[in-house]
């Protein structure tokens, strides 16, 4: 890992980036909450982790903003689960956030000179 985040910075960054993470994961297919939490943990190799207490309020907030939409889905032989999918509005937000995140990261990198390291 090129940089190490302190505990505090970790929380702040997570908060700022969490929306982007969730929207990105829902870009291809609808997913339920456990799936989302699991993927974040796996793909960040355990560096990023959301527990129930932080993940779900975030999901509900996104849903309120009408960026994602939750639906109860019942599949044969399974109990029903709430799947979230990206709305049209969410898709636009995701594109915009991706762009600004990229710009942000580039700016940080330029300043910290990590690229030249």
């Amino acid at each position: 890992m090129p940089y190490k985040l302190s505990q505090m910075l970790d929380r702040e960054l997570k908060k700022g980036s969490a929306e982007l993470l969730i929207l990105s994961l829902l870009e291809d297919q609808p997913r339920h909450g456990y799936d989302i939490g699991n993927l974040i943990e796996q793909r960040s190799k355990g560096k990023l982790r959301f527990n129930v207490a932080s993940l779900y309020p975030l999901l509900y907030r996104l849903e309120r903003r009408d960026w994602i939409q939750g639906r109860w889905v019942e599949k044969a032989g399974q109990r029903r689960r709430r799947y979230y999918r990206l709305t049209a509005e969410g898709r636009k937000v995701l594109a915009a956030q991706r762009l600004s995140w990229r710009e942000f990261v580039e700016a940080i990198n330029r300043i910290t000179g990590i690229e030249h390291a």
């Binding site: 339920h32 456990y34 129930v52 207490a53 932080s54 903003r65 709430r82």
Partner: protein
């Protein structure tokens, strides 16, 4: 696997989420924890360790609450479940259209509810329109609140409000300080001839000051001038609108024309407006009273009605004190005639409205109670429906609807329902007013004007809205109070079946039973009174009697002998007609009019002090009268055709007169005199005693009465003809009238009626109150029965499962019935207990309407309670019976 739901719920508790929403969140989060737990187990952790891992997911629950609160703050309120800040009108319109759709979906429910409400509101509207016209509307005169009647007060002689003598009126008028004006009115009648068929008119001789006093203008011409009040001035007449239309075809040139009234010419000076009536609707012609000196100084004849107008600022007690002072002065001045004679003032309104007021107020109270019962019924229906609608309500609450908003929606629904009931009720009221008007006793002032005006419409609207709020409130509060989660869950029991719903419905039934009991007892008391009144023996037989008025005009029949000749010929002619058994004439028929009394002296007794002479109701009759009326002779002999002006004067007296003045003595053979005895021929011998008749009202004790023959006495004219027929008396009317006109073609015949009709009229007021209260009580009984039936059906349906088990376990039908009916009867008995207490307190207000029964008549109370128990038992039995017929297998499956 551990159940996480409680853990999650505990952490969400402080958020106060809508329960249905909370349930969803709990489910979603618990699933996540399940997944975490399973993954941990797979990774080789023990169950305890896996549980700890899962629970750490819920760490930071403060953060969760904070975050949740942000995410749960509603961004925009959904339209149906909108909160308090949204547009009230839009909400209302939305609720209204929803209500209408709902009513359309349940036509059965709507029809039953609307009928119940329409009955209640309609009855209220009808009675209120009567009260509005008769009691509330001011009299159609100027400054009606200042108009009063002035009476002589002769309580010691049995007349607390007596018609004054002319001399007393003149003294009052000239000496008082309190009145702007005072006018005298004398009842009279006219034979109108020369304008088509001879016609008999009721009319009044009035002081010319009367019309300015009442502040009324004529429609045509003018009212009287003061000069026309002088004796000997030109004869003038004012006509009523009805007479003008009927007899003169609304001839606008009528003013100035001359009519023949009682054989004399009168010039028409004006026509009064259609709305004008004074004192009653029957009066159709007014002439100036123009008292002669003789009349104006007469202190012996009590016959005038006096109306007066208070000066502005003078109160009734002040005027009363003034009049009492004058009366006391007159007592000293004229001890011979005025001893024990006072003066008393009553508001004109009270006089014209008469004694219908207590009956109307009681009826208004009664219809109010009917409406309350209707409310209870509809509330019960709504409660039952609310139980069915619980899922709907739960969904609304889950969507975030607030209680206040839901209550508002429910009230909109119930008010919409009650306004629909009000509209149908108006139709019922309109129809029943037509019937009602025919029941209202004729002498009630303004009865003809009764109609549905804007005030009545306003009243109906108000009653409808208030009604809707009353019956809607209980179900509305009930509906929003239960647990939505339980309801959303499949198989959730309906909340209204247990606990408060059942209790509320039980209370409503109890209230219905109690209210109907009060009404039924009131009606029972009136019916009881009426039956007793009907049973009162009037003292004569009323069947097959035809009566009519034949008033011989003074101008044509000046002498007693001329009159006697007319009567003799008429009776002879009539008795020769086939179908006529006998015919007679009399001063006044029984049950018709009080008065025509004479004070007498009794031979051998000292002259009584002034004011204490025996006053005897006197009738001048033809000898055939007793046979025609079937009045039995108790002692002595009847009058005969041989009692003439050439034979000694004779009199037949009533048993009350005999008992009062000759107690323990033989009255027959005694002699009396009318006025001072100047010669031995002035004595009149008692030759017979007959049974009493009721002179005025069935419920008034007979006064002493005597009968003189028209051949000997002209104290009073005989004015009423009565004919006993073999056939239907009304079929003889034309024949009898023809016989009169064969003797005198100008002689008017009026008031052709059967004696049965007169009897019916004399108890019209009692019948009016009795019938109406009986109708309202029946409506109440039906509504209460429907209410009990509804609640019992519902309760039995809820217990079908239980009944099934009992029957499967071998319970006898009887035992199950007893169980089901027992619940209904328990409610009814409780209701009756409350109702009896209320009735004891309330029926007292009816005391003045009762005859022969007390307001707490134990028989009526008992019978009515039993009736209600019987009706309630049937209403509970039918649904219970149905439940026992259910196949236990089906009942057990019933959910």
């Amino acid at each position: 696997m551990p159940d996480w739901k409680d853990e999650v719920r505990r952490r969400l508790a402080r958020l106060n989420l809508a329960p249905a929403h909370e349930a969803e969140i709990v489910e979603e989060l618990a699933q996540h924890l399940d997944d975490v737990y399973e993954r941990s187990l797979k990774a080789g952790l023990t169950e305890v360790e896996a549980q700890q891992v899962a629970l750490t997911e819920l760490a930071d629950s403060d953060l969760m609450q904070k975050e949740m609160r942000r995410s749960q703050k509603p961004a925009k309120e959904p339209p149906v479940a909108g909160g308090g800040r949204t547009n009230l009108l839009a909400d209302f319109l939305h609720d209204l259209s929803y209500a209408i759709r709902l009513q359309r979906k349940n036509p059965g429910f709507t029809i039953v509810a609307v009928i119940a409400l329409a009955l209640g509101i309609g009855a209220n509207t009808a009675i209120f329109s009567v009260v509005n016209t008769v009691l509330l509307q001011p009299l159609p005169y100027k400054d009606p609140e200042r108009l009063v009647m002035v009476w002589e007060e002769a309580t010691k002689a049995g007349y607390p409000q007596d018609t004054p003598t002319a001399a007393n009126y003149v003294d009052w008028r000239d000496q008082n300080q309190s009145f702007e004006g005072m006018a005298a009115i004398d009842e009279t009648s006219f034979n109108l001839t020369g304008s088509g068929d001879p016609e008999r008119l009721e009319g009044r001789r009035v002081s010319t000051s009367l019309f300015p006093l009442l502040g009324v203008e004529p429609q045509l011409g003018r009212v009287f001038t003061a000069a026309e009040d002088q004796p000997g001035s030109e004869r003038v007449v004012l006509l009523s609108y009805a007479l003008w239309q009927r007899t003169f075809g609304g001839d606008t040139g009528i003013v100035g024309k001359t009519l023949t009234l009682n054989g004399a010419g009168y010039t028409v000076v004006g026509v009064m407006p259609a709305r004008f009536q004074f004192p009653t609707r029957d009066d159709e012609a007014w002439v100036p009273i123009a008292m002669t000196r003789d009349e104006a100084t007469n202190r012996g004849r009590h016959y005038l009605q006096v109306v007066a107008k208070l000066k502005p600022g003078v109160t009734l007690p002040q005027a009363q004190a003034d009049m009492s002072t004058i009366a006391t002065r007159l007592q000293k001045q004229y001890p011979q005639t005025n001893t024990d004679l006072g003066a008393v003032i009553t508001p004109l309104h009270e006089h014209l409205v008469g004694d219908i007021k207590p009956a109307l107020l009681i009826l208004l109270g009664a219809v109010g109670l009917v409406l309350l019962i209707a409310c209870a019924n509809v509330a019960n229906l709504l409660l039952a429906r609310a139980a069915v609608r619980q899922k709907e309500i739960a969904v609304r609450v889950a969507l975030g609807a607030r209680q206040q908003r839901l209550v508002r929606q429910f009230l909109t629904e119930s008010v919409a329902l009650s306004i629909l009931g009000g509209v149908v009720g108006l139709v019922i009221a309109y129809a029943s007013l037509i019937v009602l008007k025919s029941f209202i006793p004729e002498n009630v002032s303004q009865a003809a004007q009764i109609s549905i005006d804007y005030k009545v419409l306003g009243f109906t609207l108000l009653v409808s809205v208030v009604t809707g709020l009353i019956f809607g409130l209980a179900p509305a509060l009930q509906a929003v109070r239960f647990n939505q989660i339980e309801t959303l869950k499949e198989g959730g029991r309906d909340a209204a079946t247990g606990g408060s719903g059942k209790r509320l419905r039980g209370l409503l039934v109890m209230a219905e039973v109690a209210t109907s009991l009060v009404l039924l007892i009131g009606a029972g008391l009136l019916i009881n009174s009426f039956l007793r009144l009907r049973k009162v023996d009037p003292g004569f037989k009323t069947d097959n009697l035809l009566t009519m008025k034949i008033v011989l005009p003074d101008a044509k029949y000046e002498e007693t002998a001329q009159r006697a000749a007319f009567y003799t010929e008429l009776i002879q002619r009539l008795q020769s007609i086939a179908g006529v058994k006998s015919a007679a004439v009399t001063t006044n028929l029984p049950l018709y009019l009080q008065g025509n009394s004479i004070s007498i002296n009794i031979e051998g007794r000292p002259e009584p002090p002034p004011g204490q002479e025996p006053i005897i109701v006197t009738r001048v009759i033809s000898p055939s009268y007793f046979d025609t009326m079937s009045i039995p002779l108790l002692k002595g002999r009847q009058l005969t055709d041989q009692d003439t002006n050439k034979s000694p004067d004779v009199v037949v007296i009533s048993e009350t007169m005999a008992r009062r003045y000759w107690p323990g003595e033989e009255a027959v053979g005694k002699r009396i005199a009318v006025g001072t005895v100047r010669s031995p021929e002035d004595w009149i011998q008692v030759i017979g005693v007959v049974k009493d008749v009721r002179q005025f009202e069935l419920n008034a004790d007979p006064k002493p009465q005597m009968y003189l023959t028209y051949r000997q006495h002209g104290f009073f004219d005989a004015r009423d003809l009565v004919v006993k027929t073999d056939v239907d008396p009304s079929s003889m009317a034309g024949t009898v009238r023809k016989a009169v006109w064969e003797i005198d073609k100008d002689q008017p015949v009026s008031n052709i009626r059967t004696m049965e009709a007169i009897l019916a009229d004399s108890i019209a007021r009692q019948r009016f109150s009795m019938l109406l209260l009986a109708i309202f009580a029946s409506v109440a009984l039906v509504l209460a029965a429907v209410g009990i039936y509804g609640v019992m059906s519902y309760s039995v349906a809820q217990r079908t499962h239980e009944i099934g088990i009992r029957m499967a376990l071998g319970a006898q039908t009887g035992a199950v019935l007893k169980l089901a009916v027992g619940y209904g009867l328990k409610l009814v008995v409780a209701g009756i207990a409350i109702g009896l207490i209320a009735a004891f307190a309330l029926t007292r207000v009816m005391a003045t309407l009762l005859f022969g029964v007390t307001a707490t008549d134990p028989t009526t109370f008992t019978l009515i309670s039993l009736l209600l128990v019987a009706v309630a038992a049937i209403a509970s039995y039918i649904p219970a019976r149905r439940a026992t017929r259910v196949n236990p297998i089906i009942a057990l499956r019933y959910e």
